[in-house]
């Protein structure tokens, strides 16, 4: 299920600039998102810069993860968070 479990670096292409989205004819219970595992050195603004191109959009990520992130300055490696698309 984890797409990265079989990955290897080497000569594999870089997909870091891939953009994605989703929508439905059904009532959407929540905005579409992707999961992200926090790595050492990450901050919400750094993740926002990578995902949205603007560090100031960190609050979008914070709001989507209020259940697990109580303080936006305290995130921990290994935490799995939602990144709104």
């Amino acid at each position: 299920m984890n797409a990265s479990s079989n990955s290897s670096g080497g000569d594999m292409p870089d997909f870091s600039d891939v953009e994605s989205g989703a929508s439905s004819t059904a009532k959407e219970a929540a905005p579409a998102y992707k999961m992200y595992t926090i790595k050492s050195g990450d901050s919400l603004s750094r993740i926002a810069k990578h995902e949205y191109g603007k560090a100031n959009d960190w609050h979008r990520i914070f709001e989507a993860n209020r259940d697990i992130i109580k303080d936006p300055d305290k995130i921990f490696p290994g935490q799995e968070i939602k990144i709104p698309l």
């Binding site: 990955s7 594999m12 891939v18 989703a22 439905s24 059904a26 579409a32």
Partner: protein, 160 residues
């Protein structure tokens, strides 16, 4: 004796009138039954049937309203936006996830993944799309579809 007859007649008539009124009231009471609420049974296709995947269609274009693929395809160009349209049946709150990967020999690279949570009340179409401004590397890809984290189906495609 002569004077008692009209009085007796009046008493009888009065009693008869009362009994008729009483009977009439009784009839009126039984003639108006309690209102019966209309049955609230939902159509058969939305009664607690969990969401399941009917089919997945890949395309480079969809109808934004119906979310239907313009044309099913499994080979794409480097600058295409790639859509996976997941048609489902059933109802209820459900998380539909797609995991997109690139395959080269026995190596796999993650491309993208996305989750859309829906509150379905019947058949629905949910589209997932990916694009890559710098262009898709040529090769083999696949998209896996999960329903509430359970694998549902996998579609393979190629970029040429």
């Amino acid at each position: 004796m002569k004077t008692s007859t009209p009085i007796s007649l009046a008493v009888i008539m009065t009693a008869l009138a009362f009994s008729m009124t009483a009977c009439k009231k009784k009839e009126e009471t039984t003639a108006l039954p309690e209102p019966v609420p209309a049955p609230t049974v939902a159509p058969a296709d939305v009664i607690n049937v969990p969401v399941s995947v009917k089919q997945v269609t890949l395309s480079n274009k969809i109808d934004e309203t119906t979310k239907q693929a313009a044309m099913a395809m499994n080979t794409f160009a480097a600058n295409d936006t790639i859509y996976a349209v997941v048609d489902t049946i059933g109802s209820g709150k459900t998380a539909i996830k797609t995991v997109w990967t690139y395959h080269k020999g026995d190596q796999t690279a993650p491309v993208s993944e996305a989750v859309q949570e829906i509150d379905a009340t019947g058949p629905a179409s949910t589209e997932f799309h990916i694009s890559k401004p710098s262009g898709w590397p040529v090769g083999d890809y696949q998209v896996e579809v999960f329903v509430n984290d359970a694998p549902a189906t996998t579609q393979k495609f190629t970029v040429k």
